[in-house]
Symmetry: C2
Subunit: 208 residues, 2 copies
DNA sequence: AAAATGAGAATGAACGTTCACTCCAATAAT
DNA sequence: ATTATTGGAGTGAACGTTCATTCTCATTTT
């Protein structure tokens, strides 16, 4: 009984966040009105405000909800038998499988985080978390002798994130962009940067 | 006399666009009010509206103004003695020299272009222009035997744009991001992708 | 005098948020 | 067994504010 009550409230919050995600992805943060979100969530404004104290809190909620998912997806790399294979899987998951709306929503949140200090902090925490995790994966791979050691791995982590951002951005902004087409080139490039000189050659013949 | 009149009007428009750029970079498109822009331009709303018919037209104006500059910057690559040198110069110009505000403004425009169809069209025209120019440069370099020929050069152009977007994005969103630090890695990566196998080795020792 | 340039108050719509209220299920009192 | 009481869930009209845009009128230029 006690649990079901908390559960119901949590479910309601999730429903609201779903509705807000749809609205924000469709119209952007500022053009999506609370009335729109209320309509999408089939709920009156007054009631919605019992669950979230402000519009800003909706973004924060979406952020936090996505955080777990994003971070969890790194388990994939750990699980993969070999580093580059895991990286490819991660890239595919993040950059090809995700819908255009998801990506657009992400861009929306990132843009908004430049302004609301509270969201900026939350967002940067998440970024830091992800960066650390990537750096950790790189260091682990280095210690397993799967990648070169004479590369600045922190800088390399930045490069990987940058590649992810670039692909996300291009996908959301350029309708003609074909993620499937460039992904092999990207992976070859990363391999060229990180692979040990011995393992470098085999990757080359593939991208003609 | 006739020219000075047109000149004065053009100057006024430029001043307004400068003011709008500052406001948009600071507060974003939706949170920068026309009153703010009027204040920044030291001009009354009524007068400003004689120069630009709407807020949206301000973004369009900024877009068009930046277009010439962006496209012109590609002359640098043509002027460089060697392909990768020109590319490095271009990257530095676009990604390190530009102020954070400029980059943020660019992100702002890109985000907004997802919604206003008119701006979207304008923006995508510019993107196409840039992509074609990059592809042209790549093809020229290939014909000069400066880069590999067995790479999909159109896809490579996408990759280069994606790298630019990624760096811009990261710069505007991540205060700790050090463009200077990652740029060598990026260039090494691109070299690894495009350089002819013979010329590949010399680039390697540099990025320890 | 006519036209262009400018100012700034006015307008009306849209927005985020609040508030007074209803509804309903569950418990407590009779 | 019936009747109060409670309190969380939900409503939707209303509020104050903000904003893009327009209107009216003054000043300067030609």
């Amino acid at each position: 009984m006690l649990e079901t009550k908390a559960q119901r409230q949590s479910d309601r919050r999730a429903e609201i966040l779903d509705a807000a995600e749809r609205c924000f992805a469709r119209a952007g943060f500022h053009r999506a009105s609370m009335q729109d979100i209320c309509g999408e969530a089939a709920m009156s404004p007054g009631n919605l405000y019992r669950y979230f104290p402000s519009k800003e809190a909706l973004i924060a909620g979406i952020c936090e909800r996505n955080r777990a998912e994003a971070v969890a997806s790194f388990a994939m790399v750990d699980a993969a038998p070999e580093f580059f294979e895991g990286l490819a899987g991660l890239a595919r998951h993040h950059l090809v499988d995700r819908s255009r709306d998801e990506v657009a929503l992400c861009a929306e949140i990132m843009a908004e985080s430049r302004r609301h200090p509270e969201i900026a902090k939350l967002y940067q925490d998440i970024e830091k978390d992800i960066r650390d995790r990537i750096a950790g994966i790189l260091k682990q791979a280095a210690s397993r002798d799967e990648i070169r050691r004479d590369v600045d791995l922190d800088a390399a982590a930045s490069v990987l994130m940058l590649l992810g951002d670039g692909m996300s951005w291009r996908r959301s902004v350029d309708p003609g962009f074909d993620a499937e087409k460039v992904l092999p080139l990207i992976l070859a490039m990363v391999r060229g940067l990180l692979a040990k000189p011995d393992d470098d050659a085999p990757a080359r013949g593939e991208n003609a």
